[in-house]
Structures are given as C-alpha cells and as structure tokens.
C-alpha cells in the first residue's frame, strides 16, 4: 500500500491592494470606457454651463439687504433680503408675533424628543412616558390658557411647528396602526381580513387632499349638534389614516417575504400568535422594509404641506401667507421657496441618513 500523502493547506494571504489616488480613480470611474467618457463630458459640460449662471444669481449678484427697492435695482440677482424680512412669518405663520417663543420652545422640545427616540440609549420603557409628557407640554405651550399664557386658537398655529407636530404625531400613531392592519390583512379570521383590506383599498383609492377635505368640511356635517372636534385633530386623524394605509402595505410586503418555517418553528416551540408576531416575525419583516418605511415617513413629512388646502398654514402655507399679502415682496417667491426647500431637505436628508444607520443595525445578525 502506498504511503498516504499529508495534505497541507496554503497559508492565507491578504487580498490584493486596490490602486489608490485621485488620478487612477478618475481614470477608472469617469473615463473607463467610451460610454463613460461621453457621459462625463456631457454632464461636465452641463455643469460648466449652468453652475456659473446659478452661482452668479444666487451668490455674486445677490443682495441680502432687507429692502425691496434694493432688490428691484438693475443687475441684482437673488434677493435674500426677503427671508430676512419675512422669516418669522414663514417659520411661525400667523402665530401671535410676541408669543412666538412658545412654538420655538415647543418645537425644539419635540425635535429633541424625536432625536432622543432615535438613539439606542433611550430605548427603554420610559420613552413612552417621555413622549406623553413632551406632547402634553407642546399642546399646553402652543394653545396656552394655563400658567398665565394667553390662549392661541389652533387656526393661528402655523409654519414649521405645525409641520413638525403633524408629522411627528401622525407618524407615531400611523406606525402601530399600520402594523395592526398589515397583520390583519393576513389574519385567519375573514372578518378582520376583509375589514383591513377594505380600509387599505378605500384610503389608497383617494388622494390625500380629498381625505383632508372630508375631514375638514364633510365630517362636521355628520357630527351631532353642539359637538365639534378641532380641525387640527381632524386633519391629524386624516393624515394618520392615510399614511397608515400605505405603510401597512409596505409592512405586509415584509411579512409576505418571511419564510413559513419561522412561523412553524415558533409554533412548535409553543409561542402564541402575538408572541410569534412580536418576537419572531415583525423584527425580521420590519428589518427588510426599512427603506420602504422610511419612504413613507419622508413622504408623510412632505404631504403635511397639503393641510394648507384646509386653511392650516404649515411651512409651505405660511410662505404663501407671508409673501402673497405683501405686494412689495411678492416677486421674490423663488427665494422664499428655496429657503423652505432647504429646510425640507435638511429634515428629509437627516431621515434618510438615519434609515441607513438603522439598516446597518438590523443587519448585524447577517454579518459573517
């Protein structure tokens, strides 16, 4: 019998180092092939054509003087003075001028709460209490009537505080509702399944504007005499129900993607339906649909601008309010819109960055 050969494995060595440096990077990524070179040239050409024009308008010939006459002078580009002049009105809407510290404090508190809720340190049972406290403070500060604060009715609330509050509260209410509806659509019980399906299809079948119209103008007609619900609450309910329907479908997508074996393993271990959903299925399903849910959150944030249709002047609405009423400044709407675009972008970009971080967190168990 021949002697056995002893197998010896080769020692592992590190992967080859990629070429570093700017020039090789440009060569491979911008001029790697003729298609890539062509695209680089076209995009570069467009940038070279438009960027100087834009910069000229927005920076070099722009004026920051809060004086409409200075803006009307020849050769003047962007008139950023309009923002200097009107920023309080744009940011706070029709809220009484001398009381605007109240929405400022209330909104800062709410933003701080949202940021805190996004960080791991705060993920404990006290978070729910914190939410209730901060929301209570928000409403007391905003509406007044207590602690010698003058009363400010909700029709005077506006601007960024309204946008942030509408988004935050409807998001916090819509998410659990969406979870229940998504589970309900997969329920074994026909009544629950049908109800959830009808809800989703009905809400998805109409534009948000019409939901807000109904909440604002039709709903009061059906209320018993003497009983009124504030239009703010009705709009909140409308946005919540609308957002939840969309979110429910995104979540259901994640639920559908779960292998059946997970439910079976949970059942074989004796876990109940709710234990299975909350411990096994939802953590995995939600992790799969983080990008989709963040899509919903971001569009919800921007959709709140539609409440201006029912006379609530949130950020977009209050911009119109600020400029339409003033003939001197009315021509500088573009600058005003760029201002709120920057605000919207800052918030949306923060949300999308946060969603990337969340994705990393939930995918930790998949790393080798």
């Amino acid at each position: 019998m021949a002697e056995t050969i002893i197998f010896q494995s080769l020692p592992p060595r590190p992967a080859p180092v990629k070429t570093e440096g700017l020039v090789p990077w440009i060569r491979t990524n911008l001029f790697g092939s003729w298609q890539s070179t062509l695209t680089t040239l076209i995009v570069g050409g467009l940038l070279l054509y438009f960027l100087p024009k834009f910069l000229n308008w927005a920076v070099f010939t722009a004026t920051t003087v809060a004086n409409a006459d200075a803006c009307r002078a020849d050769g003047v580009g962007a008139c950023w003075g309009v923002i200097k002049e009107k920023y309080r009105l744009i940011l706070f809407g029709r809220y009484p001028f001398d009381e605007q510290w109240r929405p400022l404090v209330a909104t800062l508190l709410m933003v701080a709460l949202v940021v805190a809720s996004c960080t791991r340190v705060f993920w404990n049972k006290w978070l729910a209490v914190l939410w209730i406290v901060v929301i209570a403070i928000y409403f007391v500060l905003m509406s007044g009537g207590y602690f010698s604060l003058t009363t400010v009715t909700t029709d005077r609330w506006g601007g960024l505080p309204l946008t942030i509050m509408l988004t935050t509260i409807s998001l916090v209410l819509a998410f659990p509702l969406a979870l229940l509806v998504a589970l309900g659509r997969r329920s074994q019980l026909p009544a629950i399944r049908t109800f959830c399906t009808i809800y989703v299809e009905l809400v998805r079948g109409v534009p948000l504007i019409s939901v807000l119209f109904m909440a604002s103008f039709m709903f009061p007609l059906f209320m018993p005499q003497g009983l009124t619900i504030d239009v703010l609450i009705r709009a909140l309910a409308g946005i919540t129900l609308f957002a939840a329907a969309y979110m429910a479908e995104v979540i259901r997508g994640g639920l559908q993607a779960m292998p059946k074996g997970q439910t079976e393993a949970a059942a074989s271990l004796g876990l109940s339906y709710w234990q299975t959903q909350f411990k096994i299925i939802l953590p995995q399903a939600l992790a799969m649909v983080v990008p989709g849910i963040m899509n919903n959150f971001i569009s919800l944030f921007k959709d709140t601008s539609l409440v201006s249709i029912v006379s609530m002047y949130e950020l977009t609405g209050s911009l119109g309010l600020a400029l339409n009423s003033d003939a001197d400044w009315r021509p500088y709407k573009l600058e005003g819109y760029l201002f709120i675009v920057a605000i919207y972008f800052a918030f949306c970009f923060a949300m999308s960055r946060y969603s990337l971080w969340i994705e990393k967190q939930v995918n930790k168990s998949k790393l080798r």
Partner: protein, 251 residues
C-alpha cells in the same frame, strides 16, 4: 385513562388528511407509539411522512379520525394544542433558527415566554443543552454565522430546552453537507440513548439500524409496512418496500 393510553404516548386512529380538495395526503393512518420508543419513518417524497409527524404538534390539521398525544386528543381546542406543543419538540430540515436572535436567545425564547422561566435560569439551562450538543462556545453568535451542522445542533438544543416528552425530526440531515451529517447524527444517537420518544423522518439507514426500535415505511399516504430494523432491511415484506430499499441501498 385506559392502560393503553398510558402505554402509548401517541395514537393515530384512522387519521385522514387532504391538501385542498383532491390531494389525499394521509389515508387511514393507524399508529401507536409507545413511551420511549424510537421510530424511523422512511418512504419516497410525497408519501406523507412529514405531514404525518407534523400532525402530532398540529403544524398540520387532520380532517378525519382521532389523534391522541400524551392522553390529549388534538382538536381545535387551542389550550390543548398549547399543552401538547410544550411536550413535543421539533427539528426541521431547514433548521428554522431565528436569524435575528443569537444562539443563546434562540434557546431561551420559549422557556422565558412560554414556560415563564426567569432569564437567568433559562440561560443556565440553555447553556447546559448547548454543551450537550457540543456547541456551547458559539452561544453568542448569530445562526447565520454557523455552519449547517452547527445550526442543526442548535435547533436540536432549542427543542430540548422545553424538556419535551416527544421529539420529532423532519429530515434533519437532508440539507447538510456530507461531512456534517455525522455530527448531527451523533447528537441524535446520544439522545436516543436517554429514553426520549423519537419519531424521525430520515433516509439515514445507518441511523435507523443503530437506534430505531421500529422502522415505518410509507407510500402514497399510507403506512405500507412496519417492522424492527433488522427484519425490515433484511426481509422486507412488500414489493413496494423491496423496490424502495433496492433503490436507496443499491449504491
């Protein structure tokens, strides 16, 4: 309770099941399993072997006949199902570990939430089970970071954490690389020697010969033949089992 019910931990009495309207997957199944008995079930795919053992913990519902597990008949009664599931552990072909939980969390989940065992006690017990399947050093890892054989051993440990009276194995080695089959079978042989009732769907005939008290051969939703492993392998009674054995032992 009759003495028969005490002797037999599982009784199938004329059990029938259909998938949809036309696929008659279990046909008049009659089977008694004694306490501590080790049974291997084999047969071609689609013969209903998995379905049969999945009826025991009600992952599948039978439509006709009676199925009694540890003195409790399986009906729509949810409480009875919950009670039985605590006593029946199951190991799946695809492991079905919970990928978002660590190995240790996979094991403590059910004892903590179903058995209401305090966390510390559940973790101690889980570590003991992990030692038993020789994988304690992986407790902090996530399932997808383990090899197939290691994952299946974790799945066995997870099922054992409920201290079940019955263990069901649904083709536990079919998804494994050849070299990993042995480490899983070794663990199963060790369990078999400790007196737990085992029903195992498998084509590992070596395992059947080594530990089974009885081999059941199924085809087309019926139990075709059952015998002790020695007689079943050396002297099959039906043409169908002869044909099957000639195919799987032919190489």
């Amino acid at each position: 309770m009759t003495t028969q019910a005490q002797d037999n931990i599982i009784v199938f009495d004329k059990v029938n099941k259909w998938y949809g309207n036309n696929f008659h997957v279990l046909r008049d199944i009659n089977l008694q399993v004694k306490r501590g008995e080790r049974i291997v079930i084999c047969g071609p795919s689609g013969s209903g072997k998995s379905t049969m053992i999945r009826c025991i913990n009600r992952l599948e519902e039978h439509q006709e006949g009676h199925l009694i597990v540890d003195g409790t008949e399986l009906t729509d009664d949810v409480k009875a199902i919950d009670r039985i599931r605590k006593d029946v552990g199951m190991v799946f072909q695809q492991f079905n570990l919970f990928p978002h939980l660590t190995v240790l969390e996979n094991l403590t989940l059910s004892p903590m939430y179903v058995g209401k065992v305090p966390k510390k006690e559940a973790e101690e017990k889980a570590m003991a089970q992990l030692k038993r399947v020789r994988i304690a050093e992986q407790a902090g890892k996530y399932p997808l970071q383990l090899s197939g054989g290691q994952q299946q051993r974790v799945a066995i440990a997870r099922a054992l954490c409920l201290t079940p009276k019955i263990m069901l194995f649904d083709e536990p080695t079919s998804a494994l690389d050849p070299e990993m089959i042995k480490e899983v079978l070794d663990v199963m042989v060790e369990m078999a020697n400790q007196g737990i009732t085992m029903l195992c769907v498998t084509h590992e005939m070596g395992f059947a010969k080594a530990v089974a008290d009885r081999v059941i051969f199924m085809d087309q939703g019926q139990i075709v033949e059952q015998n002790n492993p020695h007689d079943f392998f050396n002297n099959p009674q039906t043409d169908r089992s002869k044909d099957f054995l000639s195919k799987i032992l032919g190489h």
